[in-house]
Amino acid sequence: MLELRHEPDQDVDASALTLRALAACRDANQVQRITLRCGDQSRELGELFTVTPSSARHELRICGDLKRFHRLGAEHRGGRFLIEGDVGHHAGAMMSGGELLISGSAGDFLAAPLEAQRAGMAAGRLWVEGSVGHYAGHRMRRGEIMIQGAAGDFLASHMIAGTILVAGQVARHCGYAMRRGTLLCDARPTLSETRFSAPVESQSPFFTLLAKAISSWAETQLPQPFAGKKVSELLAQIANRGYQSIRGDFAVGGHGEILVPLKR
């Protein structure tokens, strides 16, 4: 477990902080010597965090206000990466397995590609108790993103596949150039009438299956301080009452779907 000693005065590239890297270390001393880019300098992990060994073999837990730490959980492949606090941009970038759980809010480009890569998140489950910034789920290929709070502009832009749930408000340009994939929102977002279809009411047993899976996981696997209720409630409404389904983005020949629960 890593506890932030104090907030850094420059942005930190935390992409080197992975479960794989820590698992490869023999002891806490070696962990402390992992280096992170801090502005134009390198700093050792031990300078920024208190390192406490843990018996949980496939879990990394980090605590603190990590808003200046970017790329946390980037390319995460397996096991559980648990963050108690807010995080910066590009959290979970290009993750391809395992679970990334964030108890606070995240910045922009959640699970999005890095640099010039064209594909975003490829698998796994990413859970955010708070809100997220712009471009969350950009170019997502597979996996699940669940956001208890709100999302900024360009949510699910260029989405290829996968499932994103947002229990809070969704801002502008959501689903921009989405090709496939499923976005579940609590309220209907503002969408272009030429790029997206009119809503169609429907109900499918698939969402009961999904709701059971997510709520069972949330009840048994989600640790403190995560609550998970809003996402589970959104899914339960969609499963039990049905939903409005909006398809698009027709500008790219997309067959993505944006679902909003029917309110009774």
């Binding site: 596949a161 499932t163 499918s204 047993p205 698939f206 009961t208 299956l209 999904l210 899976a213 996981w217």
Partner: protein, 308 residues
């Protein structure tokens, strides 16, 4: 050596049933209500009594409550058995497409958990049926399992991508002999009713029983099997090998397919005891079992061992 014995006055032969390795699978079918479930299940399991002529032996294993199905709707579990994996795949895909996909409000799921993710023993379900969606189908992965959502006229047909195929056992059996059709029918029905609630097995013949028990071979080269003349009452004086006693006028056979030897042994025990205690007015006289001398099938169910 087993000795014959009696249960409630019914003689139990010192013999064994001989059963065979088969390929097996379990499917779960759900629908909006029990009526649609029943319609889909009846279609899916129709013409599925024997691999000899139907290619598959398939029947409802049990009804499932809403708490037992993946989507929380009423459903049934269906067991299927075939001689080969290729035939199993052909039958299941064809039946799923023509009998489940077609039936209003249904969905279809795997009823067997995959024990080995890298095994190639899978039967395609949605993997084959998805093309009916003509490009509008949606694939979703939940907890590592892929599902297809195929647009149809009542909404969506939800279907698991595939279902695992496992090893099963087919041909567990016991033959009931008695004085009259009525007596043996009563015994049959009691046996089938007792077997019905058991998990892991089916009795695929009509009403769970057959009167056309067969033997291997025929005087006609094209036929793989023919009537079991040893138990045909009208041939008792014509064939040298009649197995009927003087007071036995009717025989009926219950065939059981199961996912394990234990499942079949349990079903045979429960069924035989229920038959022996049925109200046949003394009309049920003897219970025996069919085998090929132990030379064809490697699963042997000795009546004495099962019933002790």
């Amino acid at each position: 050596m087993d000795e014959p014995f009696q249960i409630n006055g019914v003689r139990i032969e010192a013999t064994f049933a001989e059963a065979f390795d088969m390929k097996a699978t379990r499917l779960i079918v759900t629908a909006a209500d029990r009526q649609w479930v029943a319609a889909a299940a009846a279609a899916m399991t129709g013409f599925g009594t024997s691999v000899i002529g139907c290619g598959i032996e398939i029947a409802v294993e049990r009804e499932l409550g809403t708490a037992e199905t993946p989507d929380g709707r009423p459903g049934v579990a269906i067991l299927a058995f075939a001689v080969s994996g290729k035939e199993m795949e052909k039958q299941i895909v064809g039946r799923a497409g023509q009998c489940i996909l077609t039936c209003p409000t249904t969905a279809m799921y795997a009823g067997i958990e995959a024990s080995d993710a890298k095994s190639d023993k899978r039967i395609p379900l949605g993997k084959s049926l998805r093309y009916f969606g003509d490009g509008h189908q949606i694939s979703k992965v939940v907890q590592g399992h892929r599902y297809w959502r195929i647009p149809v006229m009542d909404g969506e047909f939800v279907c698991a991508h595939e279902v695992p195929r496992i090893e099963g056992v087919g041909g567990g059996n016991f033959i009931m002999l008695g004085k009259s059709r009525q007596a043996v029918s009563t015994a049959c029905r009691a046996a089938v009713d007792a077997i019905r609630p058991l998990h892991g097995c089916i009795t695929p013949f009509p009403g769970g029983a057959t009167r056309s028990g067969s033997k291997v071979g025929s005087k006609y080269p094209a036929l793989p099997a023919s009537t079991n003349d040893a138990f045909c009452p009208t041939l008792r004086t014509s064939v040298a090998s009649s197995a009927l006693a003087a007071d036995e006028a009717v025989a009926m056979e219950i065939v059981i397919d199961g996912l394990s030897d234990d499942a079949i042994a349990t079903a045979m025990r429960v069924g035989i005891k229920a038959a022996c205690h049925a109200d046949t007015g003394g009309g049920l006289l003897r219970i025996t079992a069919g085998n090929y001398g132990g030379k064809l099938g490697r699963h042997h169910f000795h009546l004495a061992e099962i019933l002790k």
